[in-house]
Symmetry: C2
Subunit: 134 residues, 2 copies
C-alpha cells in the first residue's frame, strides 16, 4: 500500500535559524518560507535528491504544532508522510485492521492540496504517520 | 553537503509486531530481522521506493536505544540519516560552524559498515542526525 516517503516534517522553534542551518551548515537546498494559514504552519522545504524535509513553524493561534513545541522546546521530528495511490482504499484497509485514523476518520485536504489521513501514533510505534494520495 | 535521505530509524517496543504491521496494515516490503551485536540493535528494513525505514529494537545490555525506549515506551523516531560524499569533509565543515558531533568527534563505522557521524540533537532542532558516507 504505502509507496514513497514523501517527506519528514520537523517542528522547529526558530524557522529562520533552522533554514539557515540546513543551508549553511548542512549545505542543503533550502526554499523560501511559505505561510499555510489554513494549516496553521509556515513551512520551509529542504529539497533532497530523493525526498523532502519540511521545517514547520507555528502560524496563528491554533497551530497544530504549538503543543508539540511546548512539549519539545528544541523542536523535533513531528511526522513522516508516506504516499498512497488511493486514500479511500487506504482508509478502508486501515479500518479493517483496526488502525485508528485521527479526526473523523475521513480524508481531508492536506498542506499540499492533496487528500491526506493521519494515523494514531499510539498505534504506530509512537510515530505520527501521514498518508498522502499522490 | 548532504545528499539523499538514507533512512529514517524508528525505535519500536515489539519488533515482530512492528514488522507485521508495516507488512500487513501498511502493505510495505519488509525484510527479515538482522542482529547487529556490535551496534546493540536488531534491525528490520522497510524498503520504500525512494528510501528505507529502519525499525530498531535493543540487542544486548548496552543497547544505545534502550534509554530512548525507556523514555518513549510506545517507541518513536530515533534518528534520520543523510548521505554525504566525504565524512571527513563533513566533520571539518561542521566543526568550523561550531556544530557538535557526538562521541569523540571522529567518524566511526556505522551499522551499514560505512563511516558515520552523529550530530548533537540540541544543535539540530531536537533531531538526532546521522551522516553516512556512501
Amino acid at each position: 500500500m504505502i509507496g514513497r516517503l514523501n517527506h519528514v516534517a520537523i517542528a522547529v522553534p526558530d524557522l529562520q535559524a533552522a533554514a539557515a542551518q540546513y543551508a549553511d551548515v548542512l549545505g542543503a537546498r533550502v526554499g523560501a518560507p511559505q505561510d499555510e494559514p489554513e494549516h496553521g504552519v509556515t513551512v520551509v522545504f529542504i529539497e533532497l535528491p530523493n525526498t523532502k524535509i519540511e521545517l514547520l513553524y507555528p502560524l496563528g493561534e491554533n497551530s497544530p504544532i504549538r503543543g508539540f513545541l511546548d512539549r519539545n522546546p528544541s523542536g523535533g521530528i513531528h511526522h513522516i508522510c508516506y504516499e498512497v495511490d488511493d486514500i479511500n482504499a487506504a482508509r478502508d484497509r486501515l479500518g479493517a485492521q483496526g488502525a485508528r485514523v485521527l479526526g473523523d476518520g475521513e480524508p481531508r485536504i492536506g498542506a499540499h492540496g492533496k487528500p491526506v489521513l493521519f494515523l494514531h501514533p499510539k498505534d504506530f510505534n509512537g510515530t505520527l504517520i501521514e498518508l498522502e494520495q499522490v
